[in-house]
């Protein structure tokens, strides 16, 4: 455990000494809860339609696929036409794209970003490395199946799919959202412990709360 996270005794300005437990005092330990859809079907459909039409992607490129997302912003492919845009902070993002091999160290950061996104949120895995480990199938460092650690809605196959494939992937995602079965956030909340045990088996120095709000 890092030094700055250990429990330490601190003396206040008025001389009173007390314990500071960083992991409890600095972080909220609540676990995520399953979020029910809107009270009436019509409203939920409207919301789903709006969610599908304006997908905000988190600018977090993990592997070699990130380079494929750049052309989507250029005039040739122009993802803005589909209401898609890139947001720098996970708070405002709805879609997390894991583009390529995911080392254990990056997985820890991806989990933190994913948990900081607001539900409903979706995950797309790009390339074969996220499906079955790809060419790093025997590496000691990269994970082999993404959906053990994060609820993945959609895989786009290819050892780095081209931008057209990405656009097609987005369209399928739009259809899934409109159909209402892109509830990755709720599945994550539902079997939260299963995901956590998987993650903890791979990430050894777990120096953060269970759910990073």
């Amino acid at each position: 455990m890092k030094k700055e996270l250990e429990k330490r005794t601190v003396t206040g300005p008025d001389g009173q000494t007390f314990e500071v437990e960083p992991l409890i005092d600095y972080y909220c330990e609540a676990h995520p809860t399953v979020q029910p859809p809107a009270y009436s079907k019509i409203i939920e459909n409207l919301f789903n339609w709006a969610r599908s039409e304006s997908i905000w992607i988190l600018g977090f490129g993990t592997g070699c696929g990130a380079i494929e997302m750049r052309p989507l912003m250029t005039p040739r492919f122009d993802a803005y036409r589909y209401g898609i845009q890139w947001r720098p902070t996970p708070r405002q993002a709805n879609l997390l794209i894991i583009s390529g091999y995911l080392s254990v160290k990056t997985l820890k950061r991806v989990i933190r970003s994913y948990e900081q996104m607001q539900s409903p949120k979706y995950v797309i895995g790009l390339g074969s490395c996220t499906i079955n480990g790809g060419m790093y199938w025997d590496s000691y460092n990269t994970i082999k199946r993404l959906d053990d650690y994060l609820p993945v809605d959609l895989y786009i196959v290819g050892c780095m799919p081209r931008p057209e494939a990405l656009l097609e992937g987005f369209n399928t995602l739009k259809r899934m959202i409109r159909a209402g079965n892109a509830e990755g956030a709720n599945t994550y909340a539902a079997n939260f412990d299963w995901y956590k045990t998987n993650q903890k088996r791979v990430i050894h120095d777990w120096d953060m709360p269970d759910y990073n709000w």
Binding site: V10, P13, D14, Q16, V20, Y27, C28, R112, Q116, W213
Partner: protein
């Protein structure tokens, strides 16, 4: 009635009688000396009463007329001086008991002869007899110097004797040739025979005069006196500095009466040079007795200068010279005796008296006596001296006297600051159980205050002690043993009661100022209930400040105004000095304030045109030749108090280092005194031209610049209180700008600022003080995230910054609205551009204040902080309510003042009409209630909607932030507070160069360097001192030739 000869015969007889005693009966001999001294003092007291009424009476020895007999003249001045000499002698013998017993009965005899010779000098009208008594004094002084334990004393004694030999030669030749020229030795005879018309007579008179002046220790030739002061027994130094100086000064006055007025300039010039040089050298002294020596030389130089002004002072001459002489005498005696009971000789060794409140009180009294602060005689004396000098047009002398006094203020208050604030260490321990000596000091303090009262009754301008607020403040001195809470409620009751009594008599403008001072002061004093214990010295100082302030508002004449100004300065100085590291800042505060006060004094003396005071309303009728100068001096004086740019360097330190509940008082209320002065000045004198430059235009620029630079400097401060202090400079700049606009709405804006600034500045200072007390630090980057722990302080600061920034719903916007309407009709455009920039800059430091303290990351050690103490919160909440009130209904405060100001600008119109809820001017309209309602409704609906949508929002803690997928390291590294506006400093940093501070720093460094350089002329060698005396004689002779 006892003949004056008694005062000569009695000590002589006792002296001889004592020497008959055998060795063992020392104690009896001491008692007899004491009895003799007591008898002489009683007799002289009796003389003072008899001669109060009857005129001067001459007594002839040997029964014949003067040419062949010595005549003594006894009149009121002589009686008073003899009383002073004998009282000093009595107290000194009391103080010298041990050394006298150690040295044996002969030293008592010498002491008696010394006192006798001094009385003789005062009484005798015969020149040769004067010589005899001078020589007696010289010999007895030589003898008494050996009383001191210091082994350097004999060397000093020898130097003194060498110099007295030279004086003897000069005096004897002078006397014999005067006798040769006129045939008589009597002073009246010499005047009748007009000694100074014949050339030989002129030379003889010059020799006598210069010999007597040499005894008064003039500037180049007073090295020997300093060595005596430093090494002799302190009680003897009292006799030397008080008794012999006064006697010799009176002798000089008698000698000068021989010659016509053309000889007076010699005395005044020698005197003023001695006064300035002594005070300048005192700046770089570290030994306490040598410092007191320099100070007494300075004071006797001042009295000599006053003797030189006999021609213009007329019948007030005795009152003025007497006032300063007696004040100097009491103060010097007291200080020397205090140095007697302290072992260490360094200034810092005096810190041992920190534990004794009475000794501190007497030290403060003696300093006030010396400088001439209000309740004491030197205040009246200096007031009349300066007025007569201004009347006669002798401005260089006036300027030099004030500069010398300012130097005196410098080193005396520096010493006071060292005593109170430095940590007591080293050998300066107080001598144990010296009740006798402490009784003597107590008696001197009592005499000092008594003289203050006496001079008040004698003064034609009104008695200071008759002002009830001052009496109320001084009564707190006696009540200081009560617990703090009782005194606090007493003070609040006093303030509110006085307001209830007096508010009917005020005009609307005075009503606003009085309510800010009294009611505002009472509300801030509520915070005083927070401390337990007795809080020695706080309440007298606070109530003194408030007394000064309210007397300032009620003052009708220039004398009352000036007295009130100095009272509030002194009171606020003691308040500021209570802060922990406030010593240097309090010193710079008192220097600037008293410098400003002296400027105001010059201004009033110019306006009085030779009279002794002027009605404040009559300031407008001052003739055009002198009016611009009066305006300039008064404006500069008032601007030291409102800390306009250039005179502002005292404010940040003074307000930041003061105690929690002192900062709001000093910042919220005290700055208004300067504003009231400026308001008064502009009301009575209107626009003034000096060398073609429009003075109010200059004020406009100064106001604009201080607004801009005040706000700009506030941005880059790391210390919260310093930030608020600089923001006060900015706000005062705004008010000054409003005043200088010289139109109806400009003044209304200034009044609005007076109210607004008081409310939000006191609130902000109280809340920051509460936070600083809880977190133990004032550095903003050390705090952070206190919103959840100190919610009430947060609300106060939030409302405060919204008001200060001028954002619509709150009262700040009112000020800005009136400002916009005011500048529509002003004829100067450029300063307005500077002020437009100053407006938004206020946002920067306000946001920095609230962000770095309440928002951002909470540090580990602050996790268990409670809310600020209850009694600090109560006044803050009152201020929040007040702010809301002024925001919603500004008319209550401003309507009557608006009409009152209207009468000063009859033709321009420009007033506001307050019909219904909308306030409209010639250009625009403003409906505060409507704005508040609209903003409130919008705010409430949106908040309700947001709360409804986010009803199950997840409350998270401080590290749940999106930190680029990483974990924040520690709260200290994630709280952005240090060097908050780095890019702004890169862009506009060049404006915040500390030019003014550097300027004042070089001024003080120059003074210290000059003082350290020129004091080297006292090389310590006796022969060199003799050469100094001869050179002095030659120089004065050449100067007198030129006359």
């Amino acid at each position: 009635m006892v003949s004056p000869l008694f005062i000569i015969a009695a000590p002589l007889g006792t002296a001889f009688f004592i020497s008959l005693f055998s060795k063992e009966k020392q104690r009896l001999a001491f008692l007899i000396t004491l009895a003799a001294m007591l008898l002489m003092s009683l007799v002289s007291l009796h003389w003072v009463f008899t001669y109060l009424t009857s005129g001067p009476v001459d007594y002839y020895t040997a029964g014949t007329l003067p040419p062949f007999s010595i005549n003594f003249r006894m009149a009121l001045p002589e009686a008073c001086l003899i009383l002073l000499i004998n009282l000093t002698g009595l107290f000194s013998t009391l103080f010298l008991k041990n050394s006298l017993l150690r040295m044996g009965r002969l030293s008592m005899a010498v002491l008696l002869i010394d006192i006798m010779s001094l009385s003789g000098i005062v009484l005798t009208r015969d020149v040769f007899n004067l010589f005899v008594f001078l020589e007696l004094m010289a010999i007895s002084t030589g003898g008494l110097v050996l009383l001191s334990e210091d082994n350097r004393a004999p060397a000093a004694g020898l130097k003194y004797l060498i110099v007295s030999q030279l004086v003897t030669i000069l005096l004897l030749i002078g006397i014999i040739f005067a006798y040769h020229a006129t045939g008589t030795l009597n002073i009246d005879g010499l005047t009748v025979a007009s000694l100074t018309h014949s050339t030989g007579g002129k030379l003889a008179f010059f020799l006598i005069l210069i010999a007597v002046i040499a005894e008064v220790k003039p500037f180049p030739a007073n090295g020997w006196a300093l060595d005596i002061y430093e090494s002799a027994h302190p009680s003897f130094s009292v006799i030397f500095s008080v008794a012999s100086s006064s006697a010799v000064l009176f002798a000089t006055a008698k000698i000068l009466s021989i010659a016509g007025p053309e000889w007076l300039p010699i005395a005044s010039n020698v005197g003023i040079i001695t006064f300035l040089a002594a005070n300048l050298f005192a700046l770089s002294q570290t030994n306490d007795r040598r410092l007191l020596g320099y100070s007494s030389l300075g004071q006797s130089g001042l009295v000599l200068a006053i003797i030189g002004q006999q021609d213009i002072l007329g019948d007030h001459y005795l009152y003025v010279a007497g006032g300063i002489l007696l004040a100097h005498a009491v103060a010097k005696a007291g200080l020397f005796w205090m140095s007697g009971i302290i072992k260490g000789r360094e200034l810092t060794d005096w810190t041992t008296i920190q534990g004794h409140p009475f000794l501190i009180f007497s030290f403060a009294t003696f300093i006030a006596l010396l400088i001439g602060l209000p309740p004491f005689p030197a205040f009246y004396a200096k007031w009349e001296l300066i007025h007569s000098l201004a009347g006669a047009g002798r401005f260089p002398l006036l300027a030099m006297i004030l500069l010398g006094t300012l130097l005196e203020v410098g080193y005396l208050f520096r010493w006071f600051g060292i005593i109170l604030k430095r940590k007591p260490d080293g050998p300066g321990v107080l001598q144990k159980k010296r009740h006798r000596k402490r009784m003597v000091i107590a008696a001197t303090t009592a005499v000092g205050w008594g003289m203050g009262y006496l001079w008040g009754t004698l003064s034609p301008l009104g008695h200071l002690f008759h002002a009830t607020p001052l009496l109320f403040a001084l009564s707190f001195l006696l009540l200081d043993w009560l617990p703090a809470r009782i005194k606090n409620s007493l003070a609040i009751a006093g303030l509110v009661g006085y307001f209830a009594l007096q508010y009917a008599g005020y005009n609307p403008m005075q009503l606003i100022f009085a309510s800010v001072i009294l009611i505002g002061g009472a509300v801030i004093l509520l915070a005083g209930f927070d401390n337990t214990g007795r809080r020695i010295g706080f309440y007298p100082a606070t109530v003194l400040m408030f007394a000064g302030l309210i007397q300032l508002i009620e003052a009708r004449t220039s004398f009352d105004f000036f007295a009130a100004w100095e009272i509030l300065t002194v009171g606020s100085y003691y308040l500021i000095l209570r802060g922990k590291q406030s010593e240097p800042h309090a010193l710079s505060y008192i220097l600037f304030s008293l410098g400003g006060a002296f400027l105001i004094l010059t201004g009033f003396s110019l306006a009085a045109q030779g009279g002794y005071q002027i009605e404040l309303q009559m300031l407008g009728t001052v003739p055009q030749s002198v009016a611009p100068w009066v305006f300039l001096f008064l404006a500069l004086g008032f601007m030291t108090k409102t800390a306009a740019i250039g005179l502002h360097i005292w404010l940040p330190g003074a307000h930041a280092e003061a105690e929690t509940d002192v900062s709001p008082m000093v910042s919220g209320i005290l700055l208004k005194a300067g504003l009231y002065g400026l308001m008064l000045l502009l009301m009575t004198m209107g626009k003034q031209q000096l060398y073609g430059v429009e003075l109010t235009h200059m004020l406009l620029w100064i106001g604009a610049l201080s607004a801009l630079l005040g706000n700009l400097l506030a941005i880059f401060q790391e210390d919260a209180k310093r930030l608020l202090a600089y923001s006060s400079i900015g706000q005062m700049g705004y008010a000054l700008f409003g005043l200088a606009l010289m139109n109806h709405l400009g003044w209304l804006m200034a009044m609005m600022f007076v109210i607004n600034h008081y409310i939000y500045k006191s609130m902000l200072f109280l809340s920051i003080g509460g936070v600083a007390r809880r977190t133990g630090t004032k550095e903003m980057y050390r705090m952070g995230g206190l919103l959840k722990l100190m919610p009430l302080s947060f609300i106060a600061v939030l409302i405060g910054i919204i008001a200060v920034s001028g954002v619509p719903p709150l009262s700040g916007f009112g000020g800005r609205w009136i400002f916009y309407n005011a500048i529509m009709t002003s004829e100067y455009r450029l300063p307005i551009a500077v002020l437009f920039l100053a407006g938004p800059i206020a946002f920067l430091y306000l946001f920095r204040l609230i962000h770095t303290i309440f928002l951002g990351q909470l540090k580990d050690e602050h996790r268990r902080i409670q809310e600020a103490p209850f009694w600090l919160i109560v006044p803050q909440m009152i201020f929040v309510a007040l702010l809301m009130g002024v925001a919603l209904v500004p008319g209550v405060a401003l309507r009557r003042v608006d009409h009152y100001i209207g009468q000063f600008f009859p033709n321009e119109g420009g007033g506001l009409n307050w019909s219904g809820m909308t306030i409209s001017s010639d250009f625009g309209y403003w409906n505060p209630v409507a704005i508040m309602v609209v903003v409130g409704v919008m705010f409430a609906t949106l908040l309700a909607w947001l709360l409804f949508v986010n009803r199950q929002a997840q409350v998270v803690k401080q590290f749940n932030i999106v930190y680029a997928a990483e974990r924040p390291y520690r709260p200290e590294t994630t709280h952005f507070a240090w060097n908050f506006y780095a890019p702004y400093r890169k862009a506009l940093g060049f404006l915040t160069q500390p030019l003014v501070t550097r300027f004042w720093q070089t001024v003080t460094d120059l003074l210290h360097a000059a003082s350290d350089l020129f004091r080297r002329i006292y090389t310590g060698n006796g022969q060199v001192y003799a050469i100094h005396l001869l050179a002095f004689v030659v120089m004065v002779y050449l100067y007198s030739k030129g006359l």
